[in-house]
Every structure is written in C-alpha cells, then in structure tokens.
C-alpha cells in the first residue's frame, strides 16, 4: 500500500493547485482579443436579441417568448426599479437597470455554460468598469437633482443628528456613501465570480489528478471531488444569479438614495 503510494507520487508530477494565473487567458489566435472580451460581446448580443425579439410583437395576449421576455423585464422593472426607486420616477432608470441586470446575469452564467465555462467578471477590470459606471450614474443623478453641493451635503450630513456629532459623522458618511460604494460593488461581483471559478477548477483538476494516480483510495477521493464539483456548480448558478441581482438592487438603492430628499 505504502509502496504503491510512494511509487505513484514518484512517477506522477506534483499537483499544481490552480492560481490566479488561470484567469490570464491568452489572446485568441495571437491577437489581443481574449475570451472574456468575446464573452462580453456575446452576452450583449444574447441579451439584446432575446429582449428585442420578445418585445417586438407587442401582442395583447403574449406568446411564449413574449411572456418570458415580459416576465424577465417586468421582474427588473417592478420588483427592483419600481419597488425601490418608487413609482414616481423609476421609469427612466428601467432600461439602465435592466441592461445591468441581464448583462451581468448572462456574463455570470457563462461560467456554468459548457464550452464557455468562464465568468466574465472574474476579470476584475470588467467589474471595475460597471461599478465605476454605477458610481457615475448615481452621483450624476443626485447632483442633477440637488446640485453638486446640495447632493454632497445630502449624502454626507446625516439628518436628525446633533451638529456636535458632525465632525465624526460627516467624514464617515462621505467615505461610506461616496468612496466605498463603487469599491464594494466591484469587489463583491469580482470576488464571487473569481472564487467560484477557482473553486470549481480546483475540484475538477484535483479530482482528475487523484483519479489519474490510480490508487483505489485516491480514485474514491477523486470521484467524491467530482461529485462535489457538480454540487458546487449548482451552488454557483445560484451565486451567479444572486450577484447579478444584488448588483442591480444596489444600483437601484443608490439611485433612490441620491434622489431622496432626506437621507
């Protein structure tokens, strides 16, 4: 037994755990275009294609496609935009929120789709991009409504607090409302996608490595790792949806906070 094991470890190469390097994909066919970039475009095409085809007919009694599209769009429109921003001025933010939600959702789901199997937003820069845009949008909306000074005052000075506390609270509020939000927004999305993917790769390659050693115990352990990988895949699908939802929800909440007269 020990002999077999030592023999196996001697003959096999040592296992190399997947690291951040697996996210640095080379350009396709020697160009600078990488897989996640292609995925971004593909996601945009899929989202627009689906929503456009579903919305085009405008039948009073919807068919299956239109029903699905209306359900998806209506989910963002009613449960996110209207419920959070309020019935008065949610309408003009619906396209933005719908685009954010479906774009992130499809890009996240790519991680679980066979032959693609890479979460676009595990590239931190892409998450930075959308988070930065969100930051511009909610601050822009607030400044447009209250004026730059009025908006900063609204976001930084808590109402209903004695002015004695201001020196303590104002920097804190400014920090949390203006500076931290885009960072958490980007990191939450990026880290979830990054960690989920690396975990899956670890279980898959580790399982493969164990099975290839051909020792009975390792084969059992490797098979177990693969079973776990399948279970984690399902968990990941949930996480992918949740992250898209949370990103959209927070966008809506930030916009609502920027529009509100009292913070």
């Amino acid at each position: 037994m020990i002999n077999v094991a030592t023999e196996a470890t001697i003959t096999a190469e040592p296992f190399e755990a997947p690291g951040p390097g697996i996210f640095d994909l080379p350009g396709i066919a020697g160009t600078a275009v990488t897989k996640p970039m292609v995925q971004l475009v593909l996601a945009a095409i899929l989202v627009f294609g689906f929503l456009y085809l579903a919305s085009r007919k405008r039948a009073m009694v919807p068919g299956k496609l239109q029903f699905a599209g209306e359900g998806a769009y209506g989910f963002v429109r009613n449960s996110v935009a209207r419920d959070i921003i309020g019935a008065h001025d949610f309408q003009k933010f619906v396209p933005y929120l719908a685009a954010i939600f479906f774009f992130i959702l499809v890009n996240n789901l790519f991680a679980s789709i066979p032959f693609i199997q890479f979460p676009t937003f595990s590239r931190a820069s892409m998450a930075y991009s959308l988070a930065g845009l969100s930051w511009l949008v909610y601050n822009g909306v607030g400044m447009y409504k209250h004026g730059p000074i009025g908006y900063l005052k609204l976001q930084s000075v808590p109402s209903g607090v004695s002015p004695v506390m201001y020196p303590l609270l104002v920097p804190l509020e400014f920090f949390s409302n203006i500076l931290v939000r885009p960072v958490t927004l980007a990191l939450r999305l990026f880290c979830n996608m990054f960690a989920g993917h690396i975990l899956l790769v670890l279980f898959a390659t580790g399982g493969l490595y164990l099975i290839e050693t051909a020792s009975p115990i390792n084969i059992v352990a490797g098979s177990l790792a693969w079973v776990l990988a399948v279970a984690i895949s399902f968990l990941e699908i949930l996480v992918q949806f949740l992250q898209a939802y949370v990103f959209t929800l927070l966008n809506a909440m930030y916009i609502q906070g920027a529009l509100a007269d009292e913070h």
């Binding site: 690291g19 951040p20 390097g21 996210f23 640095d24 080379p26 350009g27 600078a32 996640p36 970039m37 971004l40 475009v41 996601a43 945009a44 989202v47 627009f48 929503l51 456009y52 919305s55 085009r56 405008r58 039948a59 009073m60 919807p62 239109q66 599209g69 209306e70 769009y73 209506g74 429109r77 309408q91 619906v94 396209p95 933005y96 719908a98 685009a99 954010i100 774009f103 595990s122 590239r123 931190a124 820069s125 892409m126 930075y128 991009s129 959308l130 930065g132 845009l133 990026f190 990054f194």
Partner: protein, 184 residues
C-alpha cells in the same frame, strides 16, 4: 501582457495581481455595456412599456365596457319587470272588470227574465180572467135559459112571463154568486 508575464516569470517574480486594472478591459466592458444600454433604451424598453400600458388600457376598457353592459342589462331588466308588473296589473283589472260586467249582465238578465215571467204571468192571469168573465157571462145566459126551461117544464106555463122569469133567474144567480155551498 504576455511578455510581462514571461519577464516576471523569468525574474522569478509573482504573477500579476488579479486585482490589477487592465484598461483595455475596462474600456471594452464600458463600450459593450454602453451599446447594450442604448439598444435596450431605444428598442426594448419602449416596446415593453407600450405593451404594458396598452394591456392595462385594454383591461380597464374591457372592465368599463362590461360595467356599461351590465348597467344596460340591469336597466332593461328593470324595464321589463316594470312592464310585466303593468301587464299583470292590467290583466287583473280586466279580469275584475269582466267579472263585474258578467255579474251585471247576469243580474240584468235575471231582472229581464223576472220581468218577462211576471209579464207572462200577468198576461195569463188577465186572459184567464177575461175567459172566466166570458164563460161566466155565457154560462149566466145559458144556465138561466136552461133553468127557466127546466122550471117551465116543471111548473108549466105559469112562468112564461118574461119579466118574472128574468127576476127569478137574477135572484138565483145572485144566490149562486154569494157562495152557496155546492154550487159553482
């Protein structure tokens, strides 16, 4: 990027941090998302919003139409019920009238019949009376002559005198009329 990796690897350095900013990716993500947003804003959202509002309108319109129809139907029903009640009332009135009329007719007929019967009875009585008078008159003459003949036969020629004969007969008849029992 790749060359940097190679250099770092060659120098024994670490892999680049996954948190590092790749500007090309930031820009591409922004551009692609921007295009997607524009397309959704321009082509998708208006369609959906229009569909939603049209559907709401259709449903509200349908409800309003149904309400109108219901109201119309109610009004018609009420009208018909009123007409029915009128008709019933009318029928009852006519029936009542007919009964009254019938009763009147019966009464009239009865009265007529009564009058007719009493007239007939009167007439009969009068006729009988007349006939009786006639019979009495004729009987009076006949009975007188018979009696005189009989009496003449019995007493002979003494009663031939007309005057006496007449008085005797008158007296006899008067006795008859006052109701001597056994006579008449």
């Amino acid at each position: 990027m790749k060359s940097l990796l190679v250099i770092l690897a060659a120098e024994g350095g670490h892999e680049p941090s996954p948190l590092a900013v790749e500007w090309i990716e930031v820009v591409i993500a922004l551009v692609v998302f921007g295009i997607l947003f524009f397309l959704i804003w321009k082509f998708v959202a208006p369609n959906f919003e229009k569909t939603f509002s049209e559907r709401t309108q259709a449903i509200e319109g349908g409800l309003a139409a149904a309400e109108t129809k219901q109201a119309e139907a109610d009004a018609k029903l009420a009208e018909l019920e009123a007409q029915l009640a009128d008709a019933r009332h009318e029928a009852a009135r006519i029936r009542e009238e007919a009964r009254e009329q019938g009763a009147a007719i019966v009464a009239e007929m009865r009265e007529q019949a009564q009058a007719e019967s009493s007239r007939i009875v009167e007439h009969g009585k009068a006729q009988i009376e007349a006939e009786r008078q006639q019979a009495v008159t004729s009987l009076r003459g006949e009975v007188g002559s018979l009696a005189t003949t009989l009496a003449g036969r019995i007493v002979g020629e003494s009663l031939d005198d007309d005057a006496r004969q007449g008085r005797v007969v008158e007296r006899f008849l008067a006795e008859l009329e006052t109701g001597t029992p056994g006579a008449n």
